[in-house]
């Protein structure tokens, strides 16, 4: 099948019909160009979406209280749910094996002052584990630890922007900053890949803040990461169990969507994956439909070629060519033309994307690019297209009667 004679014949037909081959090949190349561009755009979208989550641990679950919307367990609807330290302890003890890191979040708005500079910031009072959950990067100093938590130490870790705003050129480490007129020692400065906004935050030990706010044991959010070895199914099972347990504990109707939110990143990832998978499917579908025009074109030129070569095919059959050999020849030629012109389109798309792609860096769309799976997809589509295009002409060729070679009078 891959011997010299077959290729000699393919090249000969292409050579004798250069313009015709080019024009039909162009439609296939163009279709693949569009297909690759579409797939690259989907890749870009996926990159954009995933980029938004990258700064957080991807195995994170948040538990947020809400307000019940259904009467349940003797309580009327409209009850506000409040999480407390005991809930955190309960989660910790119930799911010891599932949990990697666990932290409370207690929110407060503060006015911060250092010397003559003031500013308004959000404080997230958390456990030390929160650093790992939020992937907080410490630029200098340290994050607070268990000892700070137990001692209810008045220490804070401030964002890079906060440091810039309040301390200007000074090194904030070891300095005291006033938050709502209470003095806290700065023990660390953090940065965040996600966005500048996160760098306008302040972290403090949760115990410290609970004491400041009237010795409360309220917390706003429970944040945790689960065992990173869990796959999607196991992660979803775990967050489901967590939701059930917490709802039972707070006497919320299991069907009540508003009483308690358990938000699992894995679910969001799953959604994005299936969303981009659908988009990719649509891309392949649209690309293939455009390719159909090319397939018809190639099929057309092949039918022409076969018609012109009817006599030659007849002679070959008289000399002992089997129908299979004739079909193989035609199919191979068709696959060769489609694949070659397709790859030219692919290379064009790749060059353009390599040049232009890196310029796209918006949150929803970043670095559209051709990856291995795109190339493999395109190749498979091209070979399928080549076979489709060659099928009818090949049948036609196989049906040529060798008599035509004799009846030349």
């Amino acid at each position: 099948m891959f011997d010299r004679d077959v290729w000699q014949e393919i090249f000969n037909t292409i050579k004798t019909n250069k313009l015709r081959t080019f024009l039909t090949g162009f439609s296939v190349g163009w279709a693949i160009f569009i297909l690759v561009m579409l797939l690259a755009s989907v890749n870009g979208m996926q990159n954009g979406f995933l980029g938004q989550f990258n700064d957080d641990a991807t195995n994170t679950i948040f538990i947020r209280p809400g307000t019940t919307s259904k009467a349940y367990g003797g309580f009327e609807a409209g009850r506000r749910i409040q999480l407390k330290n005991e809930d955190l302890e309960y989660v910790k003890q119930s799911f010891a094996d599932d949990i990697e890191y666990l932290s409370a979040r207690y929110y407060a708005n503060v006015t911060a002052r250092y010397k003559s500079e003031t500013g308004s910031y959000n404080v997230q009072a958390t456990h030390p584990d929160h650093q790992a959950i939020e992937k907080t990067l410490i630029m200098s100093g340290r994050y607070f630890n268990e000892a700070d938590l137990i001692n209810k130490a008045k220490v804070v870790v401030i964002g890079r922007k906060v440091a810039e705003d309040l301390f200007k050129k000074e090194d904030p480490l070891g300095k005291f900053v006033e938050l709502n007129n209470l003095s806290f020692r700065v023990i660390g400065v953090f940065t965040d890949d996600g966005d500048d906004n996160a760098e306008r935050g302040i972290y403090a030990p949760v115990s410290t803040y609970q004491r400041i706010y009237g010795n409360t044991n309220n917390i706003n959010v429970i944040a945790l990461t689960y065992n990173p070895t869990y796959d999607l199914a196991k992660a979803l099972e775990f967050s489901g169990k967590l939701e059930d347990v917490m709802k039972r504990r707070h006497k919320i109707d299991p069907e009540d969507q508003a009483g308690l939110y358990v938000w699992n990143y894995a679910e969001a990832f799953d959604n994005i994956s299936s969303f981009t998978a659908v988009l990719r499917g649509i891309g392949i579908g649209v690309g293939f439909l455009i390719l159909v025009a090319g397939i018809v074109g190639i099929g057309n030129i092949m039918v022409f070629t076969i018609k012109e070569r009817t006599k030659e095919i007849g002679v070959r059959k008289a000399l002992g060519a089997r129908p299979r050999q004739i079909i193989n020849l035609v199919l191979l030629e068709s696959i060769f033309i489609t694949t070659l012109s397709g790859f030219i389109g692919l290379v064009f798309a790749w060059v353009i994307l390599a040049a232009v792609g890196p310029m796209f860096q918006t949150p929803a769309f970043s670095n559209p690019s051709v990856n291995a799976s795109t190339v493999i997809t395109a190749t498979i589509i091209l070979i399928v297209a080549g076979v489709l295009a060659g099928l009818i002409p090949a049948m036609k060729a196989a049906n040529v009667k060798p008599i035509v070679a004799l009846s030349d009078k």
Binding site: D3, G320, A321
Partner: protein
């Protein structure tokens, strides 16, 4: 070598049926050189098509070298053609983008002979027809007589049992015709069985036997004194 018994063939032309061959009985021994003559419409082309396994008969028997030829699939027919038959056409039917050598090697390609071996073999046959120096020329660079000699070399390359020549001199002037007939006679003298379809009397008389067809039946079948083509060359 060839044995035909009560062969019938008719073509459907709309609602009419055209009875072309009306019971042909015919036998060719090994080493014969037979001319099949007849005016157009006499059925000689149809007979050649059936002999060449390019067309099937309606009824009757056809045996080639002891093998019954009947109800062949396309693939089987292709195999038998390749093994048993060599074709020589009026218009040569060389493949125009292949050199003389590659044209001769083509039947060997379909026999799956390795490339090197078939090139060597093809060269031998080209030498035999006196065209070794033209081996790498394209058909367009050859004269009519040379083309037909390449075609004859091609027909012989697969070492078939029978050579079928359909008006081999039909497209040639008389001098070249005699050259080609001289070659055919030489091949025949080496013991090859050859059937020549022609409507030219002088060509027919260069064979050893003439079969006359008329309206689908054999009207005359006689052995003749062979005229050597060499004397005209």
């Amino acid at each position: 070598m060839i044995e035909i018994k009560d062969l019938h063939k008719s073509y459907k032309m709309g609602s009419n049926s055209l009875h072309v061959l009306k019971g042909i009985n015919f036998k060719v021994e090994e080493g014969e050189l037979v001319a099949i003559m007849g005016s157009s419409g006499s059925g000689k082309s149809t007979l050649l098509n059936i002999l060449g396994m390019l067309d099937g008969a309606d009824s009757g028997e056809y045996t080639l070298d002891g093998v019954p030829i009947k109800n062949l699939s396309e693939t089987k027919a292709a195999q038998y053609r390749n093994k048993f038959l060599g074709f020589i056409f009026q218009s040569f039917n060389l493949i125009n983008y292949k050199s003389a050598l590659e044209n001769v090697a083509l039947p060997l390609y379909y026999q799956k002979v390795p490339r090197k071996e078939r090139q060597e073999k093809a060269m031998q046959y080209l030498e035999k027809v006196g065209l070794k120096p033209w081996a790498h020329h394209l058909p367009s660079e050859l004269s009519g007589g040379q083309k037909q000699r390449v075609a004859i070399a091609r027909a012989m390359a697969a070492e078939p049992k029978v050579l079928l020549a359909d008006e081999p001199t039909g497209a040639l002037d008389s001098k070249t015709s005699y050259e080609v007939m001289d070659l055919i006679q030489q091949i025949n003298d080496e013991g090859n069985t050859i059937l020549v379809v022609t409507h030219e009397e002088d060509i027919a008389h260069m064979c050893k036997r003439i079969v006359h067809l008329k309206d689908g039946v054999i009207v005359e079948d006689k052995k003749i004194e062979q005229v050597k083509a060499a004397q005209y060359v």
